[in-house]
């Protein structure tokens, strides 16, 4: 039932804007053009014809629609870049904003401008079904059969911080990881918290609970071409959305759990 929710938010925002400042300038007047790099489960999936997105849904899609509504921009157009990296090259683009779980790094900040973050990403811990006791701390994780993707942040975290008594299984890719959690060969997996929330949302019968997060503090932000006039207005709007609980609602709807409210495992 996201459509009524988004429609409601957009209408309320448009009314508020009508009384205040005019819509900010966009590449095509009256249209917010959004660059995507589909697919990413929960965040942005859809259907494309060439570069044109004919159907889009997900957390970032609704976020773009709500932002446009709040800024008083009547239409949103989504365009898809086949490669994530092309969203981050320097120079002039035909989109106004790029949304694709882009995490802020100093290297990227030299080529594009970033908004204030709309999502903080930590490492999450998802347990298997039927695990007798729910781990509540890093110490509780030590005796479990832990698994992570090979050469990943999660794998490194297991070795450096959790230091389990049983040798962790490091698997080739995320789908193997989730499969071995389902087969109960792994007691718990450590992976990007938002991705785990989506996994749990898509197949709640296959896994146990998302028990918590271990803070790594990655930040997903909107990218603009350097010097974009939209940035200041979008930052103000993003802060208002966060303060009003809208970001949390969208996150719950599309990603399953608001990972920033998960308990921190220490």
């Amino acid at each position: 039932m996201i459509k009524p929710l988004v429609a409601m938010l957009v209408v309320a925002a448009t009314l508020a804007v009508a009384a205040g400042a005019a819509a900010p300038p966009t590449k095509t007047p009256g249209v917010l053009t959004v660059g995507l790099a589909m697919p990413s489960a929960g965040f942005q999936v859809g259907a494309v014809r060439g570069r044109d997105v004919v159907l889009a849904k997900g957390f970032e899609i609704d976020l773009a629609r709500v932002l446009a509504g709040r800024l008083g921009i009547p239409r949103v157009r989504f365009v898809n870049e086949p490669l994530h990296s092309t969203l981050l090259t320097s120079g002039r683009r035909d989109w106004d904003i790029a949304l694709a779980q882009i995490s802020i790094t100093p290297a990227r900040a030299q080529r594009v401008d970033f908004s204030t973050p709309y999502l903080r990403a930590d490492q999450g811990v998802l347990i298997r079904r039927g695990l007798a006791t729910k781990p509540r701390s890093i110490a509780d994780l030590r005796s479990l059969q832990l698994c992570a993707e090979r050469a990943s942040t999660g794998g490194q975290l297991i070795l450096d911080r959790i230091k389990p008594t049983r040798k962790p299984l490091l698997l080739e890719n995320p789908s193997k990881l989730s499969y071995e959690l389902f087969t109960q060969r792994c007691d718990a997996i450590v992976f990007d918290a938002p991705a785990l929330a989506v996994l749990h949302r898509q197949a709640p019968d296959r896994y146990g609970a998302l028990v918590g997060r271990i803070v790594t503090n990655e930040q997903y932000a909107i990218a603009f071409e350097k010097g974009s006039p939209l940035r200041a207005r979008i930052n103000t709007t993003l802060k208002a959305l966060a303060a009003g609980g809208i970001l949390t609602r969208l996150q719950k709807r599309w990603l399953g759990t608001s990972t920033s409210t998960l308990p921190v495992l220490r």
Partner: protein, 365 residues
Amino acid sequence: MTPKRRVLGCCAVAAATAFSVAAAGAGLRAQSSPAATSVEVGFLQGEQLVYVKRPGSTLEAAVRALLAGPTAAEAKREITTQVPRGTPLRVVSLQGGVATVDLGEVFATGTRAESLTARVAQVVLTATRFPGVRSVRLLVKGGTPLGIFPGVVTRYPLTAKDVRAPDAPPPSPPAPQPPGGQSADMRALQQRLAGLGFLPATAVDGRSGPQTTSAVVAFQKWARLGRDGGAGRATRAALQTAARPTPIRAGRGRHVEVLLDRQLALLIDGNRVTRILDVSTGKPGFDTPIGSWKVERKEERSWSVPYKVWLPWASYFVGGVAFHEYRDVPPSAASHGCVRVPRWDAQWFYRQLPSGTTVTVLARS
């Protein structure tokens, strides 16, 4: 690290997968006009896709019949669909063996992986069942789906083999759990459960563990007590006075009764219940079909095509509905229509059910 869906690798083994069921209603209609040919349409029953016949002679007729869904008579036999009601057909065409099926936005509704994956299997296996169709280009609202259907790469035309091939390795044994402590009390409990048929005699070892818990749950289901798996006061009192369960219906020879209200399977020889198994049957909307059936197909390692999961030690008894091993046998109905058997009993139970064994599914016991 950015979460990105990966292209899944495929295993070499292609499990046999779809089952034809005689669709009584459609069959009669087809017979009434001898000139009409029929098309086959893929619906779901239990953990598998089954084909039913519909009158018609074109690919479009087959796809339209799929979108229309099962008939009332089929629904009574728990034949279901995961294609959302009211999905519009935008385009269906066939060129050079590649069918293009373009469906309305409704087709992409939902976030549950199992439903989204199953409906793609239905479209692809319905279209490729039509003579001359080798692969299917699936479009939604005129565009190529990206990431809408988890675990299925819809960027390129899909063949029947693409959707049937297992994309996960067969299940590996679970991590060994440290054994519980031995106690005389536990041994006495196990002996009592074994004496009543809830636990095999070989499992009496005086140690607590999931198998004993499951046997206690089975007893609690039979005695209509709370299904918590703990041998509390009420359970122990009931165990004191309990007698070995007896069959619900009269029957002959080796047969099985599945009791949906109690979530139990009774293995019966003549009039004696030899074992009572803790099982989980179809959840609401996926009910295990009530009636008298026969084991018709056995697969030691079966792969669920629509839901993409391994089903070890599967004995199919109606369409895609089987007894099979599953890691998780919760105390209530949870499956897609199949009868989940706990892993410690699955292989043994498989061996007890030769093809032709009668399986009676009862709503009430």
